[in-house]
């Protein structure tokens, strides 16, 4: 990160900051840039607490976390621990879903050395590129993000100069200049998918935020740090053809005891509902995320 040109830019930034806006004396005068500044200060603080992608930890850390918490949650964690052995936390910076997906997917490919999956994914990435082009995005605004993702995808397959180990994958996913680029790649893909199938997503988006599909993508998908919802997950899963399972750790309970709800996001599920054929969509999700209201982490099966 200490490249000379960045140093120069940072210096420039400093000089610019010194003649910045006067201090805030009136709440009415707070502009969005002030808010953004404060937000980035908070984010910087948060960064010290947890890397983008944390270490693999035994599930018991959750038990410790909720020691004095709600009994329902404690029960659910117990249920979870029957099926899952480890959890990997991600930073709660609004990008956690995408970050989880990035690590979990790449780790999966790395472990299985699944070359056919890499080829399949490359095909999907090309489809996404075309989607964005058809939507009127200028190539240079998304090219870098695509290229960087494809690099990561290649690097998890062993046997080339660029190959990386699992530890290196962790390091890369913690490196902002890679991690954020891949997150942004997913944001582009998600946005493109939602816009491409806007008639399908419109009712969900209306229910969620009462705005148009385009506005939704502009305010809730493309900007970094905007949290993901089931719309994002559905769109990303569909666009890349990767099934995702989400375990919900919340305080909901039902009469038949405390079970942990889960939802599978299966690519093409929407098509199936509409009766059209989508082939082998009945894949079992290999990416499992733990959802706690407002946040996603990665779960590892036993």
């Amino acid at each position: 990160m200490q490249n000379p040109e960045q140093q120069v830019a940072e210096d420039e930034q400093d000089t610019a900051d010194s003649n910045r806006l006067p201090t805030i004396d009136d709440w009415a005068n707070i502009k969005d840039c002030d808010i953004m500044q404060q937000q980035s200060a908070i984010q910087a603080e948060e960064a010290h607490k947890l890397p983008y992608v944390g270490d693999k930890e035994p599930l018991s850390v959750l038990e410790v976390e909720y020691q004095s918490g709600s009994p329902i949650l404690q029960k659910k964690i117990k249920t979870l621990s029957e099926g899952f052995a480890f959890v990997r936390r991600t930073r709660g910076d609004g990008n956690c879903f995408f970050r989880c997906f990035m690590f979990s997917y790449l780790e999966h490919v790395l472990e299985l050395q699944d070359k056919t999956e890499v080829e399949r994914m490359k095909g999907k990435v090309e489809e996404c590129r075309k989607t964005l082009q058809n939507l009127g995005y200028v190539d240079f605004t998304f090219e870098d993000f695509f290229a960087l993702y494809l690099d990561q995808l290649e690097s998890v397959i062993q046997g080339t100069e660029a190959s990386i180990s699992q530890d290196e994958l962790v390091t890369k996913c913690r490196d902002q200049s890679i991690s954020d680029y891949v997150v942004m790649f997913f944001r582009f893909v998600t946005s493109g998918e939602i816009k491409k199938r806007s008639e399908f997503y419109e009712p969900f988006i209306l229910g969620l935020s009462n705005c148009t599909v385009d506005q939704f993508c502009k305010t809730s998908v493309e900007p970094m740090g905007e949290e993901s919802d089931h719309v994002h997950i559905t769109a990303l899963s569909d666009a890349l053809g990767v099934p995702i399972r989400v375990m919900y750790l919340d305080r909901s309970s039902c009469d038949s005891g405390v079970g942990v709800n889960h939802h599978d996001f299966l690519p093409g599920a929407a098509d199936l509902q509409q009766g059209s054929d989508s082939g082998s969509s009945a894949v079992k999700p290999y990416i499992t995320l733990l959802y706690r209201p407002g946040h996603y982490d990665i779960l590892y099966s036993k």
């Binding site: 040109e5 940072e10 610019a16 200028v138 240079f140 902002q176 993508c217 493309e222």
Partner: protein, 311 residues
């Protein structure tokens, strides 16, 4: 050249070089922007004041600072030319809009931001920090003055770049329609010429906007433009200003009233083919209107102008 000095693997540098390349291969008449040779994160730019506003014909210089985290963090814009809308040497917050806080998005670019800045100029500052609310006459005076010389700023290398950009903009931006020769005689052929002259650059606006990376950003820009036009036509300020510079009052006013409608059609049209269609329809319509107005104007034999003195 700058490119050799920088680590092309650095994603920010890579992106910036790509934007530069794109900017150079699709030059615009409305703005020009280039990085300093010594620092690719520092750009100089000039924009042309939006036409049909008090900034029309003005050439406004400024600098852009791209953060090391670009394109994740937004570029900072500062104007150097006194303009009466933004304070000079103060960061302009382009991400703001009155209704929704617009977050910067990596799919935007220096180009998008410059287009937004142009659209921003005629909007009401609403007391925002870094904004100025000069009277239209003062802004117009500054616009005229802005063409005379580029601002003096920075070291010799930067100054050279500023001057270069100024020359380019001068060659692209038509002079301010403030000079007496335009209003002196009003026979039908010159009127039509002026109309077409005023129109062809306008017709260029659509393709320029078309090239914008983010379709949403366009919406906003177009939306702002629309507002701008409404404002320009709404108040008596505009009319009285017009009365000050032009001999024949009725014709330009009537034109103004017609302009927004076809221009909106023009910019709103989503496809290039439609654009062309609308543009030609608009040109035809405007010519017809001008001819009709001239007929009427000639009929009322020009003595009628006194009756407009009320403004």
């Amino acid at each position: 050249m700058a490119e050799e000095k920088y680590n092309r693997k650095n994603p920010a540098v890579k992106r910036i070089l790509q934007e530069l390349k794109e900017m150079q291969s699709n030059p615009s008449d409305d703005f020009m922007s280039l990085p300093l040779e010594e620092n690719i994160f520092e750009w100089q730019f000039a924009i042309r004041g939006p036409r049909d506003t008090e900034f029309g014909g003005g050439i406004y210089h400024g600098r852009i600072q791209l953060p090391a985290e670009y394109p994740f963090k937004p570029p900072a814009f500062m104007l150097l030319t006194p303009n009466g809308r933004f304070e000079t040497q103060t960061k302009i917050c382009l991400s703001i809009s009155n209704h929704h806080p617009e977050h910067w998005q990596p799919s935007w670019s220096v180009r998008t931001a410059l287009v937004a800045l142009i659209a921003f100029m005629p909007t009401n500052p609403d007391g925002a920090l870094g904004s100025l609310d000069y009277k239209k006459e003062e802004r117009r005076t500054l616009a005229v003055k802005s063409r005379e010389a580029a601002p003096k700023f920075g070291n010799a290398e930067r100054q050279k770049l500023i001057d270069e950009i100024h020359q380019y903009m001068l060659s692209k931006a038509p002079p301010i329609p403030d000079s007496p020769q335009q209003t002196s005689d009003e026979n039908s052929s010159t009127r039509e010429d002026q109309q077409l002259e005023g129109e062809s650059p306008n017709a260029d606006v659509a393709p320029v906007i078309e090239r914008q990376p983010n379709p949403e950003a366009n919406d906003r820009v177009v939306h702002d433009l629309r507002e701008v036009h409404l404002n320009a036509n709404a108040g008596p300020v505009r009319v009285s200003f017009r009365a000050g510079v032009s001999v024949s009052r009725r014709v330009p006013n009537a034109e103004d009233a017609n302009q927004p409608s076809w221009r909106n059609n023009n910019t709103r049209a989503p496809k290039p083919a439609d654009d062309r269609l609308f543009t030609w329809a608009a040109i035809g319509l405007t010519i017809a209107i001008v001819v009709l107005l001239l007929k009427k104007f000639l009929k009322s034999s020009g003595h009628d102008t006194v009756s407009m003195g009320g403004f």
